[in-house]
Point group: C2
Chain length 559, copies 2
């Protein structure tokens, strides 16, 4: 039995707020509205339509109050938590249970254990109000556990159908990121084609913030996680300013989009923020990135500031064109001749081999990397012989290259500072944080809305809440959006497949423009925004704050 | 100008609570009481007495209320923040300013900038209520900055005396750890011998928690920092339990004592907690430490738990007798022949050289280390040729050795689990956190008490608050304790010197016994105590919690 802290006991009694239209679910009606015109081209649209014959072209739904109270039959909903945890997952489940039982107390909620593999293995628990009581407003996915298994093959789909039908499940709810929601759409299509009664709904989760589009303003968990990282970085900034001796290089979780890094930058105002998408779209070389960083460090040293804060998105390395090329070539070279390569045990032998087989460009990039990084690229590979990109400590790579450059400048008398560094990687510290009021309310609303969509009898939809920037939750609005309306076609493992598009940072968007506007000033001065620990109790001005990304997108000022 | 967050604005209005005896400082009287009999031997006592002829043997002082209101003359106090930041430093200064100005509004408070070097360079600012307003109840040392300079040589002492006297300083307050307070005692002695009017007082600061003795129940900042690390580790534990795929190896700040790690363990209940002092006193070898860890991992794998939480104190490596020996020998070997050794550029050459010169025992230890660690030991050395112990990533060393052992066991069919790891180092994230109510109250009280001791006209004392376990601050008591009463003699750089003794974890003490009592259970099961983010607003049951170390030492239960 896990110990509850005083905080958890107190927090349990927090009553999440939610949209008016979800106040009494028997009175909620799903009103058809038109979906927005998708921005993908006609050819892609046609492909998606073909791949989703049964579920493509459904209308969007807006939840509204309809006073004519209905009797609702008992229903069975099954829930799966998919992928990395994000703050608020438990509250989605609490919203589903509270909503469903309030409509008909004979309803059932199952929770599959350990992600989608729980369906295939038929491992689940039946949830009730007693069980969920301890999980109200808590972080983590530990009520059910999570997993990364995807139900993709026809055999898996068939098995899944059998398990769900045997249990009498009416609706399967997949709480996950872009890939898991793509999967939800494929399953919904499969069940409908097979005339199964099982419907499928998705819920938008990810701390990375890249499940974001015309319909989804922000994924749940993003704001809590970024606030927690921002608190820690605020503390580190205060430390840098107190001791004036270290540059702190902080790598932040997020393999694809730099959304999380951008949001944290707006919350903390560091001296340097690297945004992968900018570097890629400007086609910057590693040397150019280093030169820009060195310029800030040298300028600061001239002012007597031999300290600073640097934010680095986890996925950076693959967004630098030359590094991407190198990694691709290495994977090819090391993968094709894996058996022979594995017989080479020393770094020197491997390095010679790699250099012989790389293109001139890739070889040049490789040989200019610090030896430690060369070693990492050649020695640590995954079972398929691929470079383990997530294991590359990008912050150390940058530091090594900056040190070399500063040494040159020092020799020429153009740099007189000290450059001492501390490195950090923030990720696991925040994925299971207790959800802020915002995320507690948002996820509970998403859960209630899942029930409304279930009552509406639809499949292949995502539960969506809009107007999230409003602190008065009466102004929030609940929608059901067809998952297939969020799709585009992408090449994965050499094949065109339909996927929900990841939202990368665009150089035109307001949050990035805000960073641009302040970047120079933040680089040269010490304007860190300090620790703002997430508060859950007390005044709304402290507890009900909103993501700067949302504020900026709504043309509101950030503090 | 630094931006204030909504939280900071709100938190500024928090009114710290403090002992009754400090309520009106003009009515505070310092009553002489006997100091406790020191536990050091007669010979040491005699040496300390000789080294502190002017300040040794002073009585302890207890602050009590004396209703006869006195007029107090204006006074000048100068403050220095020394060493690594700890939550609450700003509130010590706020307490000093509020207390001193309330007694006589013509008083002055100077803050020296960047630690003790600020005195030598005569860099200071005059503080007033406007300036400190923004720093009330905030973390960090950024109001003045901090530094590690010590005033030790006769020239430095002389310079220091001149600067302070020129400014008309009556009392110099040094806010710092054991070394800085030792320094305060030496300065007090120096000034008294020189018949200077400048008096010196110390304030006990350190997140490491090792400034702790018969008089000092706990140093300030320790509880806030440990709570913040515990929150993050609670989140990581919840993550481990949600995804069930990683062992998280978490190294925690604290080069000497494992106090911080022990406190965090009591707050989080991890599967494995290494306590340096235990390993040293049991004379465990690295292989034994690894075997014990492997046993837990194998037992857990048998239960299907291929995940877990492991806490490691930063200073571990130097507490393992064989590693200590190795490091000492390496420093000798590499230091004595630094010039020749520096000409060897490859790892192979250096490794051969080291092995030729190490003793048989040390060479055996060295050759059994993972190559990456061997490389770290030989390649990264400080300017004096010494091994950089703080740069050794102990958590990676342990993981490498555990992996090797598990591979053996797997080959023998005795281990069937998966062992994937994530590593973390927590330190800088917490040193500047906003002080908890406990630390905000404690530090403000320490500051008020500095004024009471200043009014009492004493020198060479530490400001001490006792009964800290009480949530009703009326029950807290303020004392002045002679710094020389906390001294013992230790060998530093081959010389016997007087120092305030660091409080290492003892195997008999109650907090360690509590860990022992639960260790087996915590290892085998998943009893993590989850995220308890520090709350500053709202109900006392959540905001006024107390350090488990303090609770246990007072025979109170921990939650």
């Amino acid at each position: 039995m896990i110990t509850s802290t005083a905080f958890e006991k107190f927090r349990r009694s927090y009553q999440p707020r939610y949209p008016k239209s979800l106040r009494s679910l028997s009175n909620t009606e799903a009103q058809e509205i038109a979906v927005m015109e998708s921005s993908i081209d006609a050819e892609q649209k046609e492909m998606i339509k073909k791949l989703f014959p049964a579920t493509y072209g459904q209308p969007a739904l807006k939840m509204v109050v309809n006073e004519g109270k209905k009797e609702e039959k008992a229903m069975t909903i099954a829930v799966v938590l998919s992928g990395g945890p994000a703050p608020g997952g438990h509250n989605v489940i609490c919203g589903i249970c509270d909503g469903l039982f309030s409509v008909n107390a004979s309803s059932k909620v199952y929770g599959f254990l350990g992600g989608a593999s729980g369906i295939l293995d038929d491992k689940c628990i039946e949830l009730n109000l007693d069980i969920i009581e301890r999980y109200r407003n808590t972080g983590g996915f530990d009520l059910l556990g999570s997993g990364r298994t995807k139900i993709e093959t026809p055999e898996q789909c068939e098995r899944c159908q059998k398990v769900l039908e045997d249990k009498g499940v009416d609706v399967l709810v997949i709480i996950g990121g872009d890939d898991s929601n793509t999967n939800a759409a494929l399953l919904a299509e499969y069940f409908k084609e097979k005339n199964s009664k099982v419907r499928v709904l998705g819920v938008p989760k990810t701390i990375d913030g890249d499940l974001k589009n015309d319909y989804v303003e922000i994924s749940f968990g993003f704001y809590t996680a970024t606030r927690l990282y921002a608190e820690l970085i605020g503390n580190i900034g205060r430390d840098a300013l107190s001791t004036r001796k270290y540059y702190h290089f902080i790598r932040l979780m997020g393999r694809s989009a730099s959304r999380l890094t951008l949001e944290v930058a707006l919350l903390t105002r560091p001296n340097i923020t690297l945004i992968s998408e900018e570097i890629q779209s400007m086609k910057k070389t590693l040397a150019e990135v280093i030169d820009e960083m060195v310029k800030v460090i040298v300028d600061r040293a001239d002012k007597g500031f031999d300290f600073g804060l640097v934010l680095i998105p986890e996925g950076l390395i693959e967004f630098i064109p030359e590094m991407k090329l190198l990694i691709q070539e290495l994977n090819k070279v090391l993968g094709e001749n894996k058996e022979f390569f594995d017989t080479l045990s020393s770094f020197t032998e491997r390095s010679e081999y790699a250099n012989r087989h790389l293109s001139k460009d890739a070889s040049y990039v490789f040989s200019n990397l610090p030896v430690d990084i060369q070693r990492q690229l050649l020695m640590d590979r995954d079972p398929h012989g691929n470079v383990q990109v997530s294991k590359i400590e990008t912050e150390k790579l940058l530091i090594d290259l900056i040190e070399a450059k500063l040494k040159e400048l020092r020799a020429k008398g153009r740099y007189k500072g000290k450059f001492s560094c501390q490195t950090h990687f923030l990720g696991y510290e925040g994925r299971c944080a207790a959800p802020t009021n915002f995320d507690a309310d948002y996820t509970y609303s998403l859960g209630l809305n899942v029930v409304a969509l279930s009552l509406a009898g639809v499949t292949g939809y995502m539960s969506v809440i809009k107007n999230l920037v409003k602190t008065n939750r009466d102004e929030w609005e609940a929608y059901g959006i067809p998952l297939s309306a969020m799709m585009n076609m992408e090449v994965r493992n050499g094949k065109q497949v339909p996927v929900i598009k990841k939202s990368l940072v665009s150089l035109e968007e307001k949050p990035f423009q805000e960073l641009l506007r302040h970047r120079q000033n933040w680089a040269q001065n010490n304007l860190y925004r300090f620790a703002e620990p997430i508060q859950y109790l007390g005044d709304g001005s402290v507890c009900d704050s909103v993501s700067p990304t949302l504020l900026l997108e709504n043309d509101l000022m950030i503090e």
